[in-house]
């Protein structure tokens, strides 16, 4: 047993996620990630059971742990009540804490996710804000969505939205005092530190890769991690 394993084992999700895997492969059979990626939740459960730190370190540096979609379909079906999806969550946490997430292409995506989601949360009180659902980021929204975006002020009240308004309602502006409380929660509970950790390790990696990290969603490093896809490496063989 090693230090990395001990850390994993201190995460309640890891404790819940693994009760002894019999390698039956049921999870792999129903896993949507295993359909498209070179990925097997069965292998994840098996590897963490070795309790071997060098194996765990390799996982933390790998693309493998970022393939899962956290749908938790595996939890329903495992005959031993394991949940590879929960094991993955514990591994990802450790990969971020150790900074090893920047060693894989899929792990480096954390920078983009942090700027798209957690930055939005502490600025607006929403995970996803209407203003950010633009077609350049999400082209599959289709031409209808462009029309909605273009006509937001005149159209949204028709469907009962309170776009940027006060009081309750869809798309309302969340009061600053509530955003302040949310920010305090992030401060006190380690959320801000987590976000800083992602930025710091990503900045080092960006420098190593000769890319500008900048701020927001248009820097060279953001663009790289948002779009880069080594399909041949990741896809199911």
């Amino acid at each position: 047993m090693g230090q990395l394993f001990d850390k994993l084992n201190s995460d309640v999700r890891f404790v819940e996620g693994i009760n002894g895997c019999i390698n039956c492969g049921t999870c792999t059979a129903i896993c949507p990630a295993a359909e498209v990626y070179d990925y097997q939740p069965r292998t994840i459960a098996h590897l963490v059971q070795t309790r071997d730190d060098s194996i765990i370190e390799n996982l933390l540096k790998s693309d493998t742990i970022w393939y899962c979609g956290e749908c938790m379909s595996c939890k329903t079906r495992c005959p031993r009540n394991n949940a590879p999806g929960l094991i993955i969550q514990a591994l990802r946490k450790l990969s971020i804490e150790t900074g090893l997430f920047v060693e894989s292409e899929k792990g480096r995506q954390q920078l983009a996710l942090k700027r798209m989601l957690s930055d939005t949360i502490i600025e607006t009180g929403y995970c996803v804000h209407f203003d950010h659902t633009t077609l350049d980021m999400f082209p599959e929204q289709g031409p209808m969505w462009q029309w909605v975006q273009d006509n937001r002020e005149a159209f949204l009240p028709k469907v009962g939205a309170n776009y940027k308004g006060n009081g309750p309602g869809a798309m309302r502006s969340i009061p600053q005092s509530d955003i302040d409380e949310l920010r305090n929660i992030f401060e006190v509970s380690g959320g801000l530190k987590w976000m800083e950790t992602i930025e710091e390790h990503s900045a080092k990696k960006a420098k190593e890769m000769g890319l500008e990290i900048g701020e927001g969603k248009s820097s060279e490093y953001f663009t790289e991690v948002y779009n880069r896809n080594n399909h041949a490496k990741h896809s199911r063989k």
Partner: protein
């Protein structure tokens, strides 16, 4: 199997759902993408069923999508959840009803964690106090908003103007359901019918007279996968999972896809459009695509609400084919008008999927 035995098994998959006085919590995705859907839910609850539904202007995201993309730690999301619970008790309510299935999964996971690991609850209470001066208590009852519509489905059906019946043939319309993974896959006992016998949407389809189609990939994920959609490089994962579902339902030629999760409602709709543009294929026979509705949108439509005030024009796959089959009248001239009746022009047409304007 004898009916009695079946009933016994079925009892294991029932859950208690409060009767009135709900604290309503919005979904980030649903309100951003289908705001009219949430509005329809509130109209049904307040105007049709005369229930007390309270919405606080102060609630925030549960941060669930951030949590499931590993940009928000577990400690933080637990504290945000506790804050939303605190707002409910402060407003004098105890029945918590989130609109989002990801959130519903988050709340069940957090409550289960606090139950099994009391030290996590203790730490959360300390963080909440320090950050906000608030105290919290767990909900007396928690149900997803699709559970609530399910509970009142017969009352809603009784008051409805329409049924899921093909006007021309008199036959029931064929409906496939797609239940969000986080509704019951993590904690089957928290969902009606559990993960294996999903009934929360099937019960609604039956109440409106439709036929439930049990297609092979009914339980497969829509492919959201959180990071697998948000990052453009990963989006192949997402569209491939939805495509697998469309191919599986295609032989049954469903008239409607019914969902309970805002993300699934979005992906079932938008990936049909994207697949049509990429591959020139739709999964019906007439190039229209298969309409997609959430439980509350379907209930509103059956009750006779105006489709454009419900925001059904915010679906990229047109709902007109379904309305035509049922015989629901609609005015295309109103579809793209503004709130004050102003002319806002019309969206561009997609290339490979029929579009009504």
């Amino acid at each position: 199997m004898k009916l009695e035995g079946k009933r016994k098994i079925w009892n294991e998959y029932q859950k208690e759902i409060a009767d009135d006085k709900y604290f309503y919590v919005r979904s980030c995705i649903r309100q951003a993408v289908f705001p009219g859907s949430e509005n329809t839910y509130l109209r049904i609850m307040r105007d049709v069923l005369k229930k007390d539904v309270h919405e606080s202007a102060h609630h925030t995201t549960c941060t669930g999508i951030g949590y499931h993309t590993e940009v928000v730690p577990f400690e933080t999301i637990q504290t945000v959840v506790a804050r939303n619970f605190a707002l409910m008790r402060e407003a004098g309510y105890e029945n918590y009803t989130p609109s989002c299935v990801t959130s519903f999964g988050i709340y069940t996971e957090v409550l289960d964690t606090w139950h099994h690991f009391p030290e996590e609850r203790k730490r959360t209470a300390e963080y909440l106090k320090k950050a906000t001066q608030r105290d919290f208590q767990e909900p007396g009852n928690m149900a997803h908003t699709s559970d609530i519509i399910y509970k009142f489905r017969h009352q809603i059906a009784e008051k409805s103007k329409y049924k899921l019946i093909n006007k021309a043939t008199g036959l029931p319309l064929k409906v496939v359901d797609h239940i969000g993974c986080h509704y019951a896959k993590m904690f089957p006992a928290k969902g009606i019918g559990g993960a294996e016998h999903p009934h929360v949407l099937a019960g609604l389809i039956e109440a409106f007279g439709g036929e439930v189609i049990d297609y092979p990939e009914r339980r497969h994920c829509c492919g959201f996968g959180f990071r697998q959609y948000f990052i453009k490089a990963n989006r192949g994962y997402s569209i491939a999972a939805s495509k697998k579902k469309f191919e599986s339902m295609e032989p049954y030629q469903p008239d409607l896809i019914l969902t309970n999760c805002p993300g699934c409602n979005f992906f079932m709709d938008r990936w049909q459009y994207a697949l049509a543009e990429m591959e020139g294929k739709t999964y019906d026979t007439k190039g229209n695509g298969i309409p997609v509705l959430a439980y509350e949108e379907l209930a509103g439509l059956m009750l006779g609400f105006d489709p454009w005030e419900m925001g059904l024009q915010m679906h990229q796959v047109g709902i007109e084919t379904l309305m035509d089959k049922i015989g629901i009248p609609y005015n295309l001239n109103e579809k793209y008008k503004g709130a004050k009746g102003e002319d806002l022009g019309v969206p561009e047409s997609p290339r490979n999927i029929n579009f009504y304007k």
